[in-house]
């Protein structure tokens, strides 16, 4: 519940300064949140995360206190100036309700990407007060993942002494609710219609459930659990619409740059959404016809400033990655030749060599790497790229994985609704709105090509496709909804009726699918496994200290066990892959085994070499579950003969691995 402190501080801050800034409380609140996380992002890149956070909270605290004194001083007569608006109240009520549910339910992370990327990165930043891209990476294998979610968690968990999964989820929820309330607030500002604005707030609040509920039993992806997931795909859509809303809410200020910068720190795909937002804003800047003519200069300045902002933010990230990249270390050990081959093994190898020599010699061709140009030039695409595009076409026409209908129906509906909203909108905005509608429709096609490129690049399976597309479709849904509800020539009564109907249907739909497993609740089965790992590692964590290096022994090639333990043992470095040394421990102790093989384990290192490696690179060995061959090869090195679930201290004694009493 300490996550409420930053929220409360922001609330007081917003109330205190909104009069001076001459805008709504919700706008100030959202802009202040975005400014804070942007400051933390840039400070974190320079490795000044903690001092920057302290300064941010000190400033918020001082301004809030000054605001409270000022209100007290001015007395009752001016108190109305400080009254927060409806959407700010709604936002805070929602945050409190969400906090209560989360702190009681304590939803857990369990999905692969959550345990491998989104959870560990946030945990690393919280526990180390620095980005995971600096020094040894305690979290993921890939230090290139942008840190937006981790920074957001850092901001809201600043007053917590420890990291909690549910606080990470709360921080996401706070972001969502702030974006929704901001959009509602701007809709009200443009329409002066509370029914429409409040309706849009609740429809958006329920939208993650609507996106998730169509597959209630699918355990594949935790995105199926609405607010109960740390996957950031939905965040992109939510922040995208907040950028647009802030642009319309504060047209004479460039405040929309704040969420725009945050957008690119969420995920690499964020760049696409940032550019999309700039295109939409560009349309409304270029094609808005005023009495005195086209406002070209202002439009150019706005778009250029946005491009410069995201260029700076992303450029700073790449510079940071280069600057803090650890030099690859020389290999101290040559593990491969350590153990003489058995006679049987030699015979098998000789046979294989003979077989190979009998085969006709073929010229080896390096597999073609797909250039990023392939997104727009079909001739450059690989076979896999084209396969993905074909499958996408099938999904597009047949699959109902995003909302209730197939993608093609959804797109047709959004296009038509967009056109209606554009035509019935403000006269001066009409051309801009039409450009936006056509642009976002074409953008969907481009995004599909980008996703296909990304999927073939990372060798993703098609099962990931709906999740990736969800970001785009919901950005589009929100944008069309925003355009429709703010259109001038659609009568208020029609809008009221429509939004009330949509909200009622949404409520009935969400309730009808069974709130017990779709609301912010951990899905019992997969989460219980993840929770059991957390329970098992609790005692071990009491012994381990920040930065201790732990070698994990677990069943061969069981990646999920590895990532779950590595995540739970943080702030120790529990990696057996490289520990940023450049030496891949996970493969040097065995031969590379293909996934389709029967996973035969083969130790390469001799016991002496194994001991030397452990002494050089690790402080502890945690035996989660040794497989038979590992046990046969190395059990003599362990003080109790190696037992499952035991932590061993690596020493230089006669028996090097000494069991630690937990």
């Amino acid at each position: 519940m300490l996550a409420l402190i930053p929220l409360l501080m922001l609330a007081f801050f917003s109330i205190a300064v909104k009069d001076r800034l001459k805008t709504d409380t919700m706008v100030v609140h959202f802009a202040a949140l975005m400014l804070s996380v942007d400051i933390l992002y840039f400070a974190a890149l320079a490795d000044f995360l903690r001092p920057a956070a302290m300064v941010v909270f000190a400033v918020i605290g001082v301004v809030s206190t000054a605001g409270v004194f000022s209100v007290a001083k001015k007395g009752k007569s001016r108190i109305n100036n400080y009254k927060p608006d409806v959407y700010f109240i709604l936002h805070n009520i929602s945050c409190v309700v969400f906090s209560l549910i989360f702190s009681v339910k304590k939803p857990a992370l369990y999905y692969w990407d959550e345990l491998n990327i989104w959870g560990p990165s946030a945990k690393a930043v919280k526990l180390f007060d620095r980005l995971y891209s600096i020094g040894i990476n305690p979290s993921t294998n890939d230090r290139n993942y942008p840190p937006g979610n981790a920074i957001l968690n850092y901001f809201f968990s600043f007053f917590d002494s420890d990291y909690s999964e549910y606080v990470l989820l709360i921080s996401y929820a706070f972001l969502f609710l702030a974006c929704f309330a901001l959009v509602a607030s701007v809709i009200y500002k443009l329409t002066k219609n509370h029914t429409v604005a409040i309706g849009s707030y609740f429809v958006m609040l329920l939208s993650p459930f609507i996106a998730a509920n169509h597959l209630p039993n699918a355990d594949y992806s935790s995105i199926s659990y609405a607010y109960g997931t740390t996957m950031v795909d939905f965040n992109l859509a939510v922040v995208f619409i907040a950028v647009i809303a802030l642009y319309f809410g504060e047209r004479n200020r460039k405040w929309f740059l704040l969420p725009l910068i945050y957008l690119i720190t969420i995920k690499k795909n964020g760049i696409f959404f940032a550019l999309l937002a700039i295109c939409v804003i560009g349309c409304y800047e270029f094609f808005v016809f005023k009495e005195k003519g086209w406002k070209l200069k202002k439009a150019v300045v706005t778009c250029l400033s946005a491009i410069v902002a995201i260029g700076l933010a992303y450029g700073a990230w790449t510079v940071h990655l280069d600057y803090y990249e650890l030099p690859k270390q020389e290999k101290i050990f040559n593990l491969k030749d350590a153990q003489p081959k058995t006679e049987a093994k030699q015979a098998v190898d000789a046979e294989k060599t003979e077989e190979i020599s009998e085969l006709p010699v073929k010229k080896r061709v390096k597999p073609r790497e797909t250039s990023i140009k392939a997104i727009f030039i079909p001739s450059l695409r690989t076979e896999r790229y084209n396969e993905i595009l074909d499958e996408m076409k099938w999904y597009f026409i047949n699959n109902k994985e995003i909302v209730f209908c197939t993608d093609i129906v959804l797109i047709a509906f959004l296009f038509v609704l967009g056109i209606v909203a554009a035509i019935r909108g403000k006269k001066e905005w009409r051309i801009a709105a039409l450009f936006t509608v056509f642009g976002i429709t074409a953008g969907c096609f481009v995004y599909s090509l980008v996703i296909a490129y990304q999927m073939q690049f990372y060798n993703d399976m098609m099962v990931e496709y709906p999740r990736y597309m969800l970001s785009y479709y919901f950005s589009w849904i929100y944008l069309v909804m925003f355009m429709f509800l703010t259109s001038e020539k659609i009568r208020d009564s029609v809008k009221n009726m429509l939004i009330t109907t949509v909200l009622t249907v949404s409520l009935v739909y969400v309730y009808g699918t069974g709130l017990d497993y779709t609301v912010i609740d951990r899905p019992q089965n997969p989460a219980s496994w993840a929770k059991s790992v957390t329970e098992q590692t609790k005692k071990v964590n009491m012994v381990l200290e920040k930065g201790d290096r732990v070698y994990l022994v677990y069943p061969d090639q069981d990646g999920e066990t590895y990532i779950a333990y590595r995540y739970n043992l943080q702030p120790a470095y529990a990696g057996i892959d490289t520990l940023s040394t450049g030496i891949d421990f996970s493969i040097n102790f065995r031969e590379k085994i293909d996934y389709t093989s029967d996973r035969q384990y083969y130790n390469v290192a001799s016991p002496q070499k194994f001991t030397d490696v452990m002494n050089t690179y690790f402080d502890y060995i945690y035996v989660i579950q040794p497989d038979e061959e590992f046990y046969t090869s190395y059990s003599e090195l362990f003080s109790d003969g190696m037992t499952t679930g035991t932590l061993y201290k690596v020493t230089t004694g006669e028996i090097p691995m000494q069991a630690v009493i937990l």
Partner: protein
């Protein structure tokens, strides 16, 4: 009385902020009265049939289970089950197993139609020497899985259902919390629409 309400409304519900807060306050009061009243009455058995009861093995429908006596069963397969049909909010079981049951879980459904799935399942919480299961309001049927191995003997010392607890009487589920968050918003929306219609009508009348 109506005049007083009108005066109060004019004085205190003059801003949308106040009207929104009033919608929340009103709904929370109404919901609390209904929720607390209904669950309190149902928990002592006046309605809904959620009265505290002691059960024996005979009250369950055994599936792949050999019933030795009213307190003892032996699993015939690795998927032995005891099914109980009736309104149930919680179950406390004091029992012993001949060998580790592996998993001691309970499935539930709202329709009593023998349809069970992993999304409606509870693991046993161990409280003292008892196993404790808690189910959502409206649960009509449960399926107790008595272990993942055949030949496990389970001796039940006691099975108690529907023990009145603070969480069953005053507990708020995530669904309840959502109701409390969203429904007042809907009330506010409808209220604002009505208000704007009334205002428009007034203005039209005045103009005429």
């Amino acid at each position: 009385m109506t005049e007083k309400v009108k005066k109060f409304a004019v004085k205190h519900l003059n801003t949308p902020q106040n009207r929104l807060l009033a919608a929340y306050l009103l709904f929370i009061c109404m919901w609390s009265m209904f929720h607390l009243g209904y669950t309190a009455i149902s928990s002592i058995g006046f309605i809904g049939g959620n009265a505290k009861q002691q059960l024996t093995v005979a009250d369950f429908t055994p599936v792949d289970v050999e019933v030795v006596n009213e307190n003892t069963i032996i699993n015939s397969t690795g998927d032995s089950q005891l099914i109980y049909t009736g309104p149930i909010r919680n179950m406390r079981i004091k029992c012993s197993f001949s060998t580790d049951p592996g998993e001691f879980v309970c499935f539930y459904n709202y329709r009593g139609n023998n349809a069970f799935g992993i999304h409606r399942m509870r693991y046993a919480k161990i409280i003292g020497d008892c196993y404790w299961f808690e189910f959502p309001p409206g649960t009509k049927q449960i399926r107790l899985d008595t272990g993942v191995e055949p030949s496990i003997t389970v001796v039940f010392d006691s099975i108690t259902i529907n023990t009145p607890t603070l969480s069953t009487v005053a507990g708020i589920t995530a669904g309840d919390a959502f109701t409390l968050l969203t429904v007042p918003g809907l009330i506010f929306m409808i209220g604002e629409t009505v208000l704007s219609l009334v205002k428009n009508k007034k203005e039209r009348d005045e103009r005429q």
